[in-house]
């Protein structure tokens, strides 16, 4: 009872005394855990390497400049592959994610007992595995190359797109759906006239956002052999060709910057 009367005056506190104590105890426990963890980490760290790290970083830094600009022309093709992996992977994911989202949304699922849990399972399994791990798996199955990258990106993106889309579907205005249903429309027509128009802006936003993320993810897929600029990065790292690494990193940076700009423009245009 945070509202108490004392000496004929009303005193209001945010929490009652018991809750106040509980909050303080919570902070105390949190601090203790932090100190303990710090100690564990400290014991398991070889401090010589840490104290040495500025020197090593400076050394590598000095080897990285000047960038090997003459290496740039060799990067166009892998960069193009990277963008293709991201774009095709996103498109493939969209095609598969839309039905999953409609199965997962409480207000559109044809069967709450069977299809909805199945759709949620697809979403969770797709989201819980990083695209790098998908790529490792797919390179083993389908062999190295762009194809494995596309599939890896797509599999990882299905869950992301389907989850955000099904949340958007669940948040639509049910009155508009009721109105279309009252005209005698079939379930398919209700989706196309009452639901699709309402989730279109969300869908466009999600797609572009995911494409933007996928550009960044696909730059590292090459590390495990799934094509794109990551392949070049790995090759240069392996032979300690630091000036080349600089050029590759700058190229990735520029690509991501451009994709961010494009996706921001598209999202702005849609909303």
């Amino acid at each position: 009872m945070p509202l108490i009367t004392r000496d004929d005056r009303m005193i209001w506190r945010r929490r009652a005394t018991g809750r106040d104590l509980a909050v303080w105890a919570g902070w105390l426990v949190g601090t203790a855990i932090f100190v303990w963890s710090w100690q564990v980490i400290s014991e398991n760290t070889i401090w010589f390497f840490v104290s040495d790290s500025p020197r090593v970083a400076a050394d590598i830094g000095s080897r990285m400049v000047p960038p090997a600009w003459d290496y740039l022309p060799a990067l166009w093709k892998p960069l193009w592959d990277t963008i293709n992996i991201a774009t095709l992977g996103t498109l493939l994911a969209l095609v598969m994610a839309v039905p999953v989202a409609f199965m997962a949304a409480r207000n559109t699922t044809p069967s709450v007992l069977f299809l909805r849990p199945l759709a949620l399972l697809i979403i969770v399994s797709s989201r819980s595995i990083n695209s790098l791990i998908w790529a490792l798996l797919l390179v083993a199955i389908a062999g190295p190359g762009v194809f494995a990258g596309i599939i890896a990106i797509a599999l990882r993106s299905i869950g992301f797109v389907a989850k955000l889309l099904y949340e958007a579907i669940e948040e639509i205005d049910p009155l508009q759906v009721e109105a279309v249903r009252a005209t005698g429309a079939s379930e398919g027509q209700i989706i196309s006239y009452a639901i699709v128009p309402q989730v279109m802006p969300a869908f466009a936003g999600i797609s572009v956002f995911r494409w933007d993320i996928n550009i960044r993810e696909s730059t590292v897929l090459g590390l495990v052999g799934a094509g794109g600029i990551g392949l070049e990065l790995q090759a240069s790292l392996n032979v300690l060709a630091w000036p080349r690494v600089t050029v590759i990193l700058l190229a990735i940076f520029a690509t991501v910057l451009i994709s961010e700009w494009v996706s921001a423009r598209i999202r702005h245009a849609v909303i």
Binding site: Q176, E178, A179, T183, A185, S186, Y193, P201
Partner: protein, 292 residues
């Protein structure tokens, strides 16, 4: 017109057969709320009937049980003697084409154009792919355009619904219901989101159209004065039961108390007296009602 089933076993009533008949309609929600508690009602063709009652009396549930947007727990609904409550899904969709519905918050699809919204009233008549590609038959488009003309919105056909004002949106809602070629209209609080002047215009339009087309119509309405002004019959609902059924002229303070509960009804009835004496009793809300 769009007769889909046989007109069999017309229930009861000799002479002027009712367009709509409700028999012992009950609705209990899973939460335990009993929204309808044995409603019997008949509405003849061409009659505009207002359904009044306090919030939570079951007005919305009642009209939604007619086209089964809400499934009644028990009881039966007949349109021209044909049972609605017994229909399967497919037959129900065909039945819904014959019942136009108009909503409180307009319920237009905001991101579609006015024309798309009106044409959505024809969805029950066209196949999925035709509607997906917006390839409606020319007669449907013509019908939709004429209705937009009739409600005074012809030049707005290509605007998006969310660009319109409240009154204009409700007119689109009316056009959407009428393009169905319905035999009856269900109208849920058509004026609750509108200003007094627009409310009257919308009610007038609605009643004119019902008369032109001889539609049986149920209008849920909070504004008793507005109802009295436009309709020929008033039904009062309280706690899921019909407690009044008669002409608007017999709606005296005693009846209002039966429907809504205890309240000094005379103060709202004579708005004139209050205008002369602004310091008199009555809340702002009542004064507003008085003005309408």
């Amino acid at each position: 017109m769009n007769q889909t089933g046989a007109i069999g076993h017309a229930p009861g009533v000799a002479g002027r057969a009712p367009m709509l008949e409700l028999r012992q309609l009950f609705k209990q929600y899973p939460t335990g709320d009993r929204a309808l508690d044995g409603v019997d009602l008949e509405v003849p063709a061409g009659q505009v009937m207002a359904l009044i009652g306090p919030s939570g009396a079951g007005k919305s549930t009642l009209i939604r049980c007619i086209n089964r947007l809400v499934e009644p727990t028990s009881g039966e609904v007949f349109l021209k003697g044909e049972s609605i409550t017994r229909l399967g899904q497919r037959a129900l969709r065909r039945m819904r084409r014959r019942i136009g519905m108009i909503f409180q918050e307009y319920a237009l699809v905001e991101r579609l154009t006015v024309m798309e919204n009106v044409l959505s009233g024809r969805l029950g008549y066209v196949g999925f792919w035709r509607s997906w590609w917006r390839r409606f038959p020319a007669e449907d488009v013509e019908k939709a355009y004429h209705l937009l003309e009739r409600v005074g919105l012809a030049e707005y056909y290509d605007k998006r619904a969310d660009e319109l004002s409240g009154g204009q949106r409700q007119r689109v809602g009316i056009a959407r219901a009428l393009v169905q070629d319905p035999e009856m209209l269900l109208v849920d609080e058509p004026t609750a989101s509108l200003d007094p002047k627009t409310s009257r215009q919308v009610m007038r339009l609605l009643c004119e159209l019902c008369e032109e087309r001889g539609l049986a119509t149920i209008i849920n309405i909070h504004d008793v004065m507005l109802a009295q002004m436009f309709v020929e019959r008033i039904v009062g609902l309280r706690a899921g039961r019909i407690v009044y059924d008669g002409p608007p002229s017999e709606l005296d303070p005693e009846v209002l108390t039966t429907i809504y509960g205890e309240e000094d009804w005379t103060t709202t009835a004579s708005a004139e007296a209050r205008r002369r004496d602004p310091g008199g009793p009555g809340t702002d809300e009542e004064r507003l009602e008085g003005m309408v």
